[in-house]
Assembly symmetry: C2
């Protein structure tokens, strides 16, 4: 019992210390753990099961748009990484280098992929010949390595899991269309499955991906008011194609460069789920991503017929991901445990319930209890899971709305950023210097230039020059 | 058309040059390709789709036995790799070493995992405390790196994809039971899904895994008579547990070492599918692993109603993985292409067929044509796919039986090994010296000591001393 006790006790309140609360949830919900390899995590069964569901949902959506999965090597020869100038400058400082194979030094050192644009380009240069070969819409599921100095579970680790899509198109228009299409897939997935509302927009030049012409992003807001970049989609134009010589013979028989995109989403989304939905009792999982959606907890299970009834209900609920906790722990412990693990719906069944042909349903998100007749248990559970999913999205949206502010001059901007955690909308002249100044003065960065622009004022919140864009600013993970 | 032409022409006959035939199939069925990274492959969509099906089928079987998926880091600190003596001796000569992170040299170099026993042990040492924590039955899907000198697509590459299961148990008996259980999962998967019959047995000490007490293996026979080790399952006893200090408090309140197992299957099974089932027209896929099971090819598709009929049949066959080839290639090209890609069943539908309310079904494995009424197309297709699956297994089994020989003395053994590609069953005294001599004299290795032992003679085929075991010998990939 000692171990169970440790699990459900002593989680830091999120209002007292959000960072510690996050670490406590990660640890006590048994999502991941540290290892002997500095900056690298082990993703434990409860965490990996969430990632498998993320993979399943995303992969299905990708394939519906014509994506094909492939696998590229994990190593990139140094000369290959160096072919695109902006790209190597962006990534070389943070890659891990392999210098020896077995007992021998390598002739050329290899980096462990931080991302695979260079490998896909190298492949496409040999694989694409004619307009008939286009588009290429490839994706891979893999791990990548970036030698971060400071790390946090799921949010920033030296190795992380992700998918990276890499496409090649005959025209600039088609590449741009695919870039936006995949951003929309991400946004839809976040909102419909993870119950996390996102702001869609474009990154500024300062914040865009190394080597991209344009980077689009979905930005979400965590419970503590910090922003999380949740998925990005890049349009490379023909820059990489020129660097790597990826050409095709078009219908008019002339050689043209392809236009390329890439897009990725990572295990940091598990961190987002924790920080958007979690509470002081632990993890709260949206039903559509939960590895276990319904947990049945028998009350006074030693009494005759109770456990059998619990198993009967489990069998009746087999359309859902359902489990019975028939361990020898007390119901109270079981309640705490399944709350810590974030299971969306709890079904309690005891002797009194059996006598009354009823069960008690308890929502994880609101703790609300409902007594339902066993006659229509399946419908009630189904309806309640849908309600939980919808309510979680709405609460997250309301939280974001309540923590999204506007500022029209410098003082108001600094005052808001410093005192009101959240997004701050403000006008921007388009100059890098203003972004730098804002970062230096407040620690905030431009999260995106949202697709849904508003006209807050005529002038840049920083320099007062004519404004070009409304920008979402915020402190970010 | 030039590209299609290249694809379906000029594949080397397997009887002329089996190795070249293999390379041709890999290339022309577009399964994988070479890259700028020496010894590393890109797995292309047609190859990766097979791997996804392998993953899906295996993962489902694993989970039915209680396996949970996790993810461990890809790096192993040198000091961790060195903790188990036999293990490090086995792997250190063939690992890739990371020596720099970003711009700085690392304090301790890290190897890219060649396998993850050391990481799981390190994790279990902190994660397992009590008998209540056991068993741990974890698995991960990932890539591993072994710095091979000579490489071949799928069969031997410096990086390959696999799953590796790692379990910890309270007793030796339970560990042994799990080791055999997973070997049986592999054997069942190979026979039922890949239509590849296997010999189950134990590896000799010479051939067992570095650090294992016992290694069990499934061995299959390729069309050219060479053996392929197709899956292994290792019982480590408590050797790793002692090296890494993985202990638990048992029910009697004493500290005990856990007993561990590991087991793996890799992308080399795609090579096995090619080499067991393929023919001079290309790949032949068993229906249960084929990404496309049925291809519908319209004949005279420019004629009114033909394409619509093809789409209608596709919709009717939506319980299967079905596609229509409605490209502007000629039917002949389409036939060659879908044969090269190994699609199990072809449905031809033309004006004459439509007039007669029929379609022509063509089996990939036998080229047999059957005219069926459209009235019961679904049943006919279903029945035929089942027949193909069963026949492919039976043919592979018959091939293996026909290429499995016995030898009772040295001359017969050498004569057989040298002239009859296949398995040679022979008695063995149990001495390493005889294994070494056989390898040196014939190039053959002991594939396994099969669970189904036979008594061929009283004496070792090599030294004439009393025999202990019957062994399958063969030349292997």
């Amino acid at each position: 019992m000692a171990k169970d006790k440790k699990m459900v006790e002593s989680i830091t309140s999120m209002d007292v210390d959000f960072a510690q609360w996050y670490t406590d949830v990660v640890k006590k919900a048994e999502l991941c753990d540290y290892t002997s390899v500095k900056g690298c995590m082990v993703i434990k069964p409860a965490g990996y099961a969430i990632w498998e569901n993320i993979q399943h949902e995303l992969d299905r959506r990708f394939k519906e748009t014509g994506v094909q999965n492939v696998y590229m090597p994990m190593f990139i020869p140094e000369s290959l990484l160096e072919k695109e100038k902006d790209h190597v400058e962006g990534f070389a400082p943070e890659v891990a280098w392999v210098t020896h194979g077995g007992l021998d030094p390598l002739q050329e050192r290899l980096c462990v992929r931080p991302t695979s644009e260079t490998l896909f380009c190298d492949f496409y240069a040999n694989d694409i010949h004619s307009y008939r070969d286009l588009p290429r819409v490839y994706n891979q599921w893999c791990s990548v390595v970036r030698w971060e100095k400071t790390t946090r579970p799921f949010l920033r680790s030296r190795e992380f899991l992700w998918q990276e899509g890499h496409t090649a198109h005959a025209t600039a228009e088609e590449a741009e269309k695919r870039t936006i299409q995949m951003l929309n897939v991400y946004a839809d997935f976040c909102e419909q499955v993870l119950a996390i509302p996102v702001v869609k927009g474009q990154k500024t030049d300062k914040e865009k991906f190394a080597g991209a012409e344009a980077t689009y992003t979905i930005e979400s807001l965590m419970h503590d008011g910090k922003a999380l970049q949740s998925g990005t989609s890049h349009n490379f134009g023909d820059g990489f194609a020129k660097a790597f010589g990826v050409q095709f013979a078009d219908k008019d028989n002339t050689l043209k460069y392809v236009h390329q995109t890439s897009w990725g989403m990572t295990t940091r989304m598990i961190g987002a789920i924790i920080m958007v939905h979690g509470d002081d009792n632990g993890l709260v999982l949206p039903p559509r991503i939960a590895p276990t959606q319904v947990i049945i907890i028998p009350i006074q299970q030693q009494k005759e017929g109770i456990l059998d009834k619990a198993y009967e209900l489990r069998d009746r609920l087999s359309n859902f991901k359902v489990k019975v906790d028939d361990s020898d722990k007390s119901p109270g412990w079981k309640f705490s445990e399944c709350e810590m693990r974030g299971i969306p719906l709890r079904v309690e069944i005891g002797p009194k319930d059996m006598a009354n042909n009823q069960a008690v349903l308890v929502r994880r998100d609101t703790h609300e209890k409902t007594v339902v007749s066993l006659d229509n248990l399946e419908e009630e559970v189904s309806r309640m899971l849908d309600t939980i999913q919808a309510d979680m999205l709405e609460r997250a949206r309301a939280h974001r709305e309540a923590h999204t502010y506007s500022a029209v001059d410098w003082d108001e901007f600094v005052e808001t950023i410093n005192n009101k955690p959240g997004f701050v909308k403000a006008m921007w002249c388009g100059d890098r210097a203003c972004e730098d100044k804002i970062k230096e003065a407040t620690g905030a960065t431009s999260r995106c230039m949202p697709f849904e622009q508003e006209h807050l004022s005529d002038t840049c919140v920083c320099c007062g020059k004519p404004a070009k864009k409304m920008v979402y600013w915020g402190r970010a993970y």
